[in-house]
Amino acid sequence: MPADFISNLYVFILAGFVGFELIKRVSPLLHTPLMALTNALDAIVVVAAIIIAGRHETRFTTILGAIAVAASFSNMVGGFLITDRMLRMFKSGRSKQS
């Protein structure tokens, strides 16, 4: 078992607990925007895609990397955009009157 695996496992478990505590506190009102936002954050996979597409190894891996860049970056852009559009709509009774 490589040493990196253990350190990654630490990070994974700790991040999982942090995620659990954070998500538990998100109001059910915002569950749809939550899913859109975590989708956008998950699109950070684009950084791995950029490296594969830019590494110039074989044409095949470059093509795969390029598809992955497009797919994940569209999630990133679209995810943040729609999350913000949704959250903008949530107004409390007080702010509505002002």
Binding site: P2, D4, F12, G16, G19, F20, L22, V26, P28, L29, L30, H31, T32, P33, L34, M35, A36, L37, T38, N39, A40, L41, D42, I44, V45, V47, A49, I50, I52, A53, G54, R55, H56, E57, T58, T61, L64, G65, A66, I67, A68, V69, A70, A71, S72, F73, S74, N75, M76, V77, G78, G79, I82, T83, M86, L87, M89, F90, K91, G93
Partner: protein, 462 residues
């Protein structure tokens, strides 16, 4: 800066990005601070993307720039879809997220720098299987939500055996690859089998179970990204994937609890068949129906009204008319609140987004546990396009397929009015005793048209 220092500064930037991601979710704990969550997430993601372009491994930029532009070109319209299309857009984005994670896993396998060890092979195989089944599963879910595919559960004899055999096939191929990673031939077969399993997994699941399925797919997409982080030894992916995966997992648990069902029951549920049997045992019973005029008179005489929205309101796009109704009643001094069941609609929080879109203040949207105690003191419960989540059989009929599911206790209100197209039980097929109660009035018609008629009466009639 030498290569080592450069790499360290990249890692430092990724740590900043991870902190911003965690803050981003923290800001979402209240609607007031929530928009800062988007800002924090955007800064973190933007920073990570920009510093990655300086990674010394990146030597050619042409394809990166072209595909970033294509990604933005696809992402912007997908970010601007109409609010009613949010569930299918979400399913599609699960597919995209899983696609990129799976594809990078495939590329890692074929990258010829170093021979893949058994351990790495195991990581890659697991990552690619989860990613691939999420791609096709999410596409099927999106197709169902967009109504390109039938929303009813598609079931056939021996389905679970077939599905599990296919899954076992994919895992068997993965094991064979771990035993000998050099069997390159098996790798694409494993990917195809996993893709097929994704189709088989979601096809039998009906529209009413979509909130759970979409949350589960969210969780799979997240965990596949985290696994990819293990494969590539990238902590930023491990963290982002763990956050996304745990979020989807928690939402699935909440959805399952709100339906009193287990994961296995949703995924391999005999729900479809049980419902079909229940529908057969229906008998003719008398219901009382009312006209928009009657309904208006009852609403005007009320002091407190609770509106219960469901998928029917979303389909009819009645939320803006409901808002007009809310405004008119509120102006008359009537207290109007909205009771939102966790699984109302097609994804977690679906109703809240539609009502917020119609400008209804969020402090009027009340969760099930909070509002259920208030129904006995409520004059009118107005059910708009919701069915199973109001079914009292869940409370008192042990033979009902939804017995034990927590429901909104609308039957305890003084008067219940149900806007519904007809008495047909819909594809869920469960008869709802609510409709036959003495204090229930059926308002037959399209949700949008019926609410419009009430609004017209309320504003013009007097």
């Amino acid at each position: 800066m030498n290569a080592f220092e450069l790499r360290q500064s990249l890692d430092f930037a990724y740590i900043v990005a991870v902190v911003l991601f965690i803050l981003s979710l923290k800001f979402l704990s209240s609607p007031a601070s929530s928009r800062w969550g988007v800002v924090a997430g955007e800064i973190g993601a933007g920073l990570a993307v920009i510093v990655t372009l300086f990674n010394p491994e990146v030597v050619q930029y042409r394809w990166i720039l072209i595909t970033l532009i294509i990604g933005a070109g696809v992402g912007i319209p997908l970010g601007l879809v109409h609010m009613t299309a949010v569930p299918q857009r979400t399913a599609l984005s699960h597919a995209f997220g899983a696609l990129s994670a799976a594809i990078i896993g495939v590329a890692e396998y074929y990258v010829g720098t170093a021979p893949v060890t058994r351990f790495e092979m195991g990581e890659i195989a697991l990552e690619v299987i989860i990613g691939s089944l999420t791609v096709t599963g999410s596409l099927i879910a999106a197709g169902k939500l967009q109504e390109l595919l039938p929303q009813r559960p598609i079931v056939y004899r021996g389905q679970n055996i077939v599905s599990l055999t296919v899954l076992a096939g994919a895992l068997g191929l993965a094991i064979a690859l771990v035993v000998n990673p050099a069997q390159a031939m098996l790798f694409p077969i494993m990917v195809i089998v996993a893709l097929i399993f994704g189709v088989l997994l979601v096809t039998p699941i009906g529209g009413a179970d979509m909130p759970t399925v979409i949350s589960l797919l969210n969780s799979y997409a997240g965990f596949s990204a985290a696994l990819l982080g293990f494969v590539l030894n990238s902590k930023v992916l491990v963290v982002a994937g763990a956050l996304d995966g745990s979020s989807g997992f928690i939402l699935s648990v909440i959805m399952c609890k709100a339906m009193n069902r287990s994961f296995t029951n949703v995924m391999f549920g005999a729900f479809g068949q049980v419902q079909a049997a229940a529908a057969g045992a229906q008998e003719e019973r008398a219901v009382r129906s009312a006209t928009p005029e009657d309904a208006t008179a009852i609403l005007e005489a009320a002091r407190s009204v609770v509106v219960v929205p469901g998928y029917g309101m979303a389909v009819a796009q009645a939320q803006h008319k409901v808002r007009e109704l809310y405004d008119l009643l509120t102006k008359k001094g009537i207290e109007v609140r909205f009771a939102v069941h966790p699984v109302a609609g097609r994804m977690p929080g679906h109703m809240n987004v539609l009502l917020a879109e119609a400008d209804i203040p969020y402090d009027r949207l009340i969760e099930m546990d909070e509002i259920n105690g208030d129904f006995p003191q409520t004059d009118v419960a107005l059910v708009i396009g919701a069915n199973d989540v109001t079914n009292p059989a869940a409370r008192n009929d042990k033979s009902s397929p939804i017995f034990g599911m927590p429901i909104l206790d609308v039957d305890k209100a003084h008067t219940v009015m149900v806007i519904k197209r007809s008495m047909s039980p819909g594809f869920a097929g469960i008869d709802n005793p609510l409709y036959y109660l003495d204090n229930t009035l059926m308002l037959f018609g399209d949700a949008k048209q019926f609410v419009s008629a009430i609004v017209k009466e309320l504003s013009g009639g007097h």
